[in-house]
């Protein structure tokens, strides 16, 4: 569950990123967040992952009020909210397996748990036979799947995908969206941030549109289309 109540984010006086945003995303929901550049999509993702603090309002993630979250609690939030980005953020010198295992190694996971979980998530994203490849040996779509696998190792309740298809061609983009839908079917809440109308329309799920210079969100359609 993601709840944003009257959220306003001001980076500096005169630099308003979000204004009076109210969003309620239910558990296991798939929501596409769309909007042109500068409407605050990335800021919203940063607010959800506690990279940025809101200026006003309240942010609740999975029942946890993170509005004034203490820095030492942030890592625990990040284990509950998986995030994937447009640029994959993979370690080039590590294999697929190592990249995914790395996320568990740095979070106190035992060796036996790593050995059990990593193959499972690699199977979910369809990369079980490429676990010893390096990122450079993979296509863009496969690299993004590695990033998704890494985001899934902590079995997060929420997966935020910030423009995950931004660097991919149409075929690979569709594969990634299918994978996100598959993850959603398993029971994970997915927030899919995109500016690609064809993908958003392909999903046929709830669409929230952020509009520039608007108080609140632009549109919130239950089964929507990209509307700009």
């Amino acid at each position: 569950m993601i709840v944003l109540k009257n959220v306003t984010k001001l980076y500096s006086p005169g630099s308003l990123a979000l204004s009076n945003i109210n969003i309620h995303i239910k558990p296991k929901e798939f929501v596409s967040l769309v909007g042109i550049s500068g409407t605050g999509k990335t800021t919203l993702v940063k607010v959800i992952t506690a990279e940025e603090r809101v200026t006003q309002g309240q942010v609740i993630i999975g029942g946890w009020d993170i509005t004034r979250i203490k820095p030492h609690r942030v890592p625990y939030l990040r284990r509950q909210v998986g995030v994937v980005y447009q640029d994959f953020k993979l370690l080039k010198k590590k294999t697929v397996y190592e990249n995914v295992a790395f996320a568990m190694q740095v979070s106190d996971a035992s060796v036996s748990r790593i050995k059990r979980i990593v193959p499972q998530v690699l199977k979910i994203v369809g990369l079980e036979d490429k676990s010893d490849r390096y990122p450079i040996q993979l296509s863009g779509g496969e690299q993004q799947r590695v990033a998704i696998a890494r985001a899934l190792v902590h079995a997060p309740k929420i997966l935020v995908a910030d423009e995950p298809t931004g660097n991919l061609d149409k075929i690979h983009s569709k594969e990634i969206v299918d994978l996100l839908l598959k993850i959603n079917n398993i029971g994970t809440t997915v927030l899919f941030v995109s500016h690609d109308p064809s993908l958003v329309n392909y999903v046929k799920k709830r669409v929230i549109t952020l509009e520039p210079n608007t108080d609140g969100i632009g549109f919130d359609q239950k089964v929507g289309k990209y509307k700009l």
């Binding site: 820095p71 890592p75 939030l77 953020k89 370690l91 996320a103 740095v106 979070s107 106190d108």
Partner: protein, 305 residues
Amino acid sequence: MLVVSFFRIIRFAWQGFWRNFWLSFITISILVLTYLTINFLIILNVIANSSVSAIQDKVDVSLYFENTVEKEKIDEVKEFLQTHPDIKEVRLITADEALKNFRELHQDDEIILESLEELDGNPLGATLIIKGESVESYKKISTIIDNSKYSDIVVDKNFEDSEKFIAVIEDISSKVNRFGIIIASFFVFISLVIVFNTVRVAIYTHKDEITIMKLVGANNTFISTPFFIESMLYALIACGISVLITLPALDFIQPYITSFFKDVSVDVVSFFEIHFKKIFGYQLLGIIVICVLSSSIAIRRYLRV
């Protein structure tokens, strides 16, 4: 879990150390120079202290009495002085011994010996030779004598010359120390800057990993501790190298020191052997403090966890 995390942190620190090998090498070199400068300062101190204490041992004050003063009176003065806490030892040279010593000293000088023969009786009086507890004692001893009822029977005392001599030695020794401290401070400062810079570069080199660590929920301690460990590793390795250089170097220079200070016993090898744990322990601790301090400044500044 804690043990697993601990070993992973150590592994990350170790990887960081080797990944920036040349940077680690330079950092360790500077730290070794700092250690060696401090050791050199200690060696200088040992030499200076041994010299001063050897000279102090040779320094004494002689009180010369009129030859008419009776032995009982001189014994009384001796007893009076011996009770004083600033006085370590009082030795009496009787008038006869003084004359005998004088003759021995000038046995080749016929004119002096003939002059003695022409005199009636012993022209020399008794002497009290006084050793003080420390250099500072001599001034007090002089005052004690001047203010005592025995001041009239003392013909002369030679304490000023000794005091000046010791003052010169102490002045040289303190200047050497001060210079050494300035040099050591300079190296300590350089070490701080170098370690700071090394950690800064290490953070930069690891920036992709750090971003991902933050992204996947690594806690702040897990992210920052490898950098502290890495800097402590520099201190530890530099200390080891410093020991490996210092001890053979001491063995090498000891014969030269011995032959240079013929009359003074200066044993730097023994000094380092006896105080090995203290010298290198405190140095290691000090350098670790420097490393942790500069790492924490760099981490606070560049690693926004």
